[in-house]
Symmetry: C2
Subunit: 327 residues, 2 copies
DNA sequence: CTGAAAGCGCTAACAC
DNA sequence: GTGTTAGCGCTTTCAG
């Protein structure tokens, strides 16, 4: 089924048929209708490859995430796909499995057939991100690279509120369970926490976790307990959830003996007790990122817009009471 | 940057360069190395569109889901992407937002640039699925269409165990909260439940919910209570979670006054009390689906393999005790 | 408003 | 083991 077939059957030239599908406004409406009808009858669909070869545009974008199974990403991906779809773009999904080299492979291979990228929480080093951006425009989520479009979720608001809240309750030492080493978000969260804790005169102990998972959170419990801290702030809600499950196994009551705070607000009130967390609005980030990328593609000019999404503390039950006196 | 440029610089013909990237084993290793080097230096990447136009193959597949934010799908998508990636395929993601027509649009547009589809829990009617399969091979997940490849999660094992368990505890009436009308899984679950309940002599009351969401579950609580049932089985864990949250708001204890069972096992022990559920193994389904599609693409022949994944009941705290006597 | 013709970058016979 | 020669199906000047 090609343009040629339709041209013959409709008694027009190939060019006319082509125009029916690319610039119908240039044609006599009657011709358009006739051709459309023939095409419909034959179940014709344009050959994307041929069109792409001829125009140099693919009509595709890619969104790459470290782990689609991490609940922070699906809402983001969903919005990107929905937004792109309305603009006529198809969306590739890449999952780097949290490893930088896989991310590099994926983006490299995808770059041959996409107009641009949304890179969410990329684990790639800045140099490789820049190189890639030269080939195809990139919009970053949760990664701050000067000169590129980026959407950043700023944890400082939420972190300040979290520390203020813990301070008010009388906590003096808090554990931070870190995320992946390559994660910009993790660095931001550490930094924001350090700053907030410093000005409140609170001790921070950092426990390195690597891949954020419920298991990692559960395994961190003994370290948390031996630290002497009375509160823990986890890299994300999934980790926080693991901590709570580990704590519960040892019969340690939350929040009476340990306060727990997560990040991203991905679990709503689905935990017990309901988890206090720092908001993240991943859907909004997806919207903004898609919008930005599409604007860049529309204009053809790199825009280094930097969108910052503030966060706040979502108070729930895991930080309800003052720490129990020990020692 | 084209094959021609490299050919000139390396002092070989275009065909040789082409072969370096498609069938290097046919060439003198020295030539391959030399050409590779030149290509590398120039940062050459093959033009996917041109290759696709020439070969008729795109090296892409698509996976389409009704809602990527529903926790059942990400593990599935993840495995499909990982498996496809290893075979050199890139993967498109389509999210139909639970509406059949959007699914039709997506698949139709994608069909111009993919080798095949994985359709997970499609909402499309059988006719349109068949039509699409004529264009490109389809592997279905949780949808049983004769003649197509499909991976089916069979709820009957889990449902039998669930009813047996509830029966043992003394429950006599159970509410089923349904999923989307177009969902094959929902029909299977209803059917399996009806069969199991019938042979146990248990009453089943069906409450129609439509889109499965936590909110829908919460809103169903009054209906559940007025039904006189002592147990509820929800279409999925997300809905079950909503039910529990609604029950908790009304001060109704689970499991003392109401037992709750979910489906899909997507929340692990993350709820409180921990949710009894019927397993679903979406990651395994993703593996199987990808494997099947890739096998079809490799052989070029439609295989109507039908893979059935059994389920079982995962006992947790929400079904721990016998129903409290009322009335 | 429509047609003719050139060519996008690559692969695949077919020669040599 | 390598080069020559045709296209793949579409868009796009350029004419008319």
């Amino acid at each position: 089924m090609t343009i040629g077939d339709i041209a013959d059957l409709a008694g027009v030239s190939r060019s006319t048929v082509s125009r029916v599908f690319s610039r119908p406004e240039l044609l006599n409406p009657a011709t358009v209708a006739r051709v459309r009808q023939v095409a419909e009858r034959l179940g014709y669909v344009v050959n994307h490859a041929a069109r792409a070869l001829s125009t140099g545009r693919f009509g595709n974008i890619a969104v790459v995430v470290p782990d689609i199974a991490n609940p922070f990403f699906p809402p983001l991906v969903r919005r990107v796909q929905a937004r792109a779809d309305r603009e006529g773009y198809a969306v590739f999904l890449g999952d780097s499995d949290e490893v930088a080299d896989r991310e590099a492979d994926l983006t490299q291979r995808l770059s041959a057939q996409v107009e641009g990228f949304v890179l969410a929480s990329p684990r790639l080093d800045e140099d490789r991100i820049r190189e890639l951006d030269i080939q195809r425009p990139i919009v970053l989520v949760n990664r701050d690279v000067e000169g590129l479009g980026r959407v950043l979720i700023d944890p400082s608001g939420g972190m300040d509120e979290a520390i203020a809240h813990l301070d008010r309750l009388g906590h003096q030492r808090v554990v931070y369970l870190s995320g992946p080493a390559e994660s910009w978000s993790d660095q931001q969260r550490r930094q924001a926490l350090a700053t907030a804790a410093h000005s409140a005169g609170m001790d921070v102990i950092i426990l390195e976790l690597g891949r954020p998972s419920s298991e990692a959170g559960r395994d961190a419990v003994s370290g948390i307990l031996s630290s002497g801290a009375t509160a823990v702030i986890a890299f994300d809600d999934v980790v926080a959830q693991g901590v709570m499950s580990g704590l519960s196994l040892r019969g340690i009551d939350v929040p009476a003996r340990m306060s727990v705070i997560g990040c991203d607000d991905t679990l709503a009130s689905g935990t017990h007790p309901a988890l206090t967390t720092i908001s993240a609005a991943s859907a909004a980030a997806g919207d903004a990122a898609a919008e930005l990328l599409l604007a860049i593609l529309r204009s053809g000019e790199r825009e280094s817009t930097r969108i910052v999404i503030p966060t706040h503390l979502v108070l729930r039950a895991t930080t309800d009471v003052a720490p129990q006196q020990t020692g």
